[in-house]
Amino acid sequence: MKIGVFTCHCGTNIAATVDVEKVAQAAAEFPGVTFSTAYNYMCSDPGQNIVKKAIKEHALDRVVIASCSPSLHEKTFRKCVEDAGINPYLVEMANIREHCSWVHPEGEQTTAKAIELVRIAVAKVSRDRPLEMTYTPIEKKVLIIGGGIAGIQSAIDIAFANYPAVIVEREPSIGGRMASFDKTFPTLDCAACILTPKMVTVSQSEHVTIHTYSEIEEVTGYVGNFTVKIRKKPRSVDINKCTGCGVCYGKCPVRVPSEFDQGLGKRPAIYIPFPQAVPNVPVIDRESCLWFTEQKCGICQKVCPFGAIDYDMEDEIIEEKFGAIIVATGFQQFDYSVYGEYGYGKFKNVITGLHFERMVNSSGPTGGKIIKPSDGKEAREVVFIQCIGSRDEQKGVPYCSRLCCMYTAKHALLLREHNPDAQAYVFYIDIRAAGKNYEEFVKKVQDEYGAIYLRGRVSRIFEKGDKLIVRGADTLSGAQIEIEADLVVMATGLVAMPDAVSLAQMLHIPYDQNNLFTEAHPKLAPVETITSGIFLTGACQAPKDIPDAVATASAASVKALGLMVQDKLAREPLIARVIPELCSGCRACIEACPFSAIETEEIEDLRLRRKRTVVKVIEGVCTGCGICTTACRMSAIDLEGFSNRQIMEELAVL
């Protein structure tokens, strides 16, 4: 065995606290090590060349790289030694940067630890076995969870490449939040004008299937081979028979607050959420429909000219296979009713940004008039309060929601456009307008649209008569301010969906302390998750405006397409392996394996001279978790790359 050890300075990242040369010298003394050196940047081209050259010159057969975390460069060095003719699984990394030089002070102890980490890696590599990649087929279909602008864009991109995509949307229509907006910053395009064509494109694409009013029930499998159960909630309207003629919802006697209009308007029990809905097929809300609550009415069924109404429709579960999954579930608005000082959400004339969007929409419930919900009169003095729930550890989330500054500016502008007499007062802490043409937009609002920007948070709002008294401060002038307002608009932050955690757990993707899904790397892999084959886009990962949502949507589709275009998927051979001679056939491992990756097989036992049942691992399914190994009392099942011998060897040299 000829092991080569290569220690990296990483500039000063390692060398500043670890005596790298000393590590290299110490490593040279370890059993089996025939070559040891140090270099400034091991991962650079010259660094890799040093490895390759040493392998040739010293006939090395195993390699240890002492540098950064294997999560960064394990692949790099596997490739590097492979190029030099060694099996790529005969290389180990000692993490002397993240786990050593960066977290400990300069000194002997740190160098000593680095040496030990190398000793452990040398021990492990001495027990490595050469392994070969395995290959599995790929299901050439992409699942997109969430049909907001992000999900729609992903579907369009995938369909453009002629691969099939399936959108699963919980609501009766796709479109997401954007569907409810009037205009969008910074260009003030009408939201419907830019969203509707996209919705139509997906709905007409032969490659895209849309399941609205549906949810994900279960996800199993792994990259290239996900099996997904989709629950289609009963729409009570046959989507194939309905023509969207609209007779039914015109006749329905029920009126309940419309979710789409944020409760500002009303809708029947059978309804389409908004006129451009896709699909343009109504849904019966069984909680308010008289047929379901009181077993009477049935008008819609009587009037439907196409017999599309079906009260007996039931939940339907469909199971499909996918090669990749794109998560685009978006966000919800922060619920500001936790603020007692702002009236616990009880004041009628305190509304949120989404309310305002509906109000200002000329096809919305107020016909584009900005009114006081309490009495329907036009609002003149309108106060906007930014950072509601955002940047507030006490009552909300610590992060900045990133786009409420911008939509508030948009609202202030639209307010003036709709009512030239109105005055906007914007309470802000900072204005975060870092985007193309964003700062210019805010400037325009302040300059041309006369919005008064006041720098300070509001301490209290209370009702007095039909006015709202808003008590704030302007810290720039050092003054307190009290405004008698008709309407207060809360720029509530963007937070994770209520079911984000359960979805993440179903998909086995991580989420952060704010329940936002976590990307694989914040800079280098912003749309990937650490679970291969699952990608993120839109506001479910972090607050994003429409341009960012669309950009990440295309990025995620490219990542998914990158899988689709491959014929088969190379899989790491770091999976479980059974030694049939040792296996007693007890099936304990089958019980333990969360992925059902183990099955039984009959073998001819040469010693017993009879057939015997043992188990075997299904290569494409095993994820390499190693859970089975601890279940086996015979040590008959072991995990490649992290085998019992490898780990015991590591422990032995401690």
């Binding site: 000082e341 950072c387 940047r391 507030d392 550890e393 006490q394 009552k395 909300g396 802490i429 720098r455 300070g456 948070r457 509001v458 301490s459 209290r460 008590r471 704030g472 401060a473 302007d474 810290t475 050092g478 307190q480 301010i481």
Partner: protein, 215 residues
């Protein structure tokens, strides 16, 4: 008023000491102004509470300790209850007052409050419970507003709301010991009650005020 903030000020240990001693992270204040927006006393203050926080961040000890704001703060806790960064502003105001006390910095205009505090504590030390008559009398005498609220006294007396004589609990010795020990352990020097400077300033100011008004 304009100031010049020097590098030494910024590097002074004031903020560090404050954060250590009163356990509040002033560095977290991002100047949102919510404290000032809700402060009921702000209309009388020279600096708003958020400005006080800022001055602490910048190490401006003298400015802060000689401000009127810290004496005017009524400890109503509105600010602390609403600060998004969970800074207990009222606690910091308390701390600043105690520190100003110790350093003997009291702004000319705000001598009554420290004087009142002193008389109040002295009052308890002597009588165990508040002896209102003594408190008001003493305060008026020493603050130079001899006849303040005098019209209320007979009314209050008739309604049985204030007694002429103090009522003392039994264990006055124990109580004095508590005062002594607290001083010792808390390492506060409780300067003499009749701190001549304070009284002089007060009476003098009131007197000037009267003369001004006469003109």
């Amino acid at each position: 008023m304009k100031w010049f903030i020097s590098q030494e000020t910024i590097r002074s240990p004031f903020k560090r000491i404050l954060e250590r001693d009163c356990g509040e992270k002033v560095s977290l204040c991002y100047q949102c102004g919510k404290c000032s927006a809700g402060c009921p006393i702000a209309f009388q203050m020279d600096y708003l509470p958020n400005q006080v926080m800022r001055m602490i961040q910048l190490g401006m000890e003298e400015h802060v300790l000689s401000s009127r704001t810290i004496w005017l703060c009524a400890s109503c806790l509105t600010c602390s209850a609403r600060c998004p960064r969970e800074i207990d502003v009222a606690e910091i105001m308390d701390y600043l007052r105690r520190r100003a006390y110790r350093k003997g910095i009291i702004p000319l205009e705000e001598t009554e409050i420290p004087l009142f505090n002193k008389i109040f504590l002295r009052n308890i030390e002597l009588f165990g419970r508040l002896y209102e008559m003594g408190l008001i009398g003493m305060f008026n005498l020493l603050s130079g507003e001899f006849f303040k609220d005098i019209s209320l006294a007979p009314k209050m007396f008739l309604k049985g709301k204030i007694g002429i004589f103090p009522k003392r609990p039994k264990h006055m010795k124990e109580l004095r010991k508590i005062f002594k020990n607290s001083e010792k352990l808390g390492r506060v020097k409780r300067s003499r009650l009749l701190q001549p400077r304070l009284i002089f300033l007060n009476v003098f100011r009131k007197f000037i005020g009267k003369v001004e008004r006469l003109k």
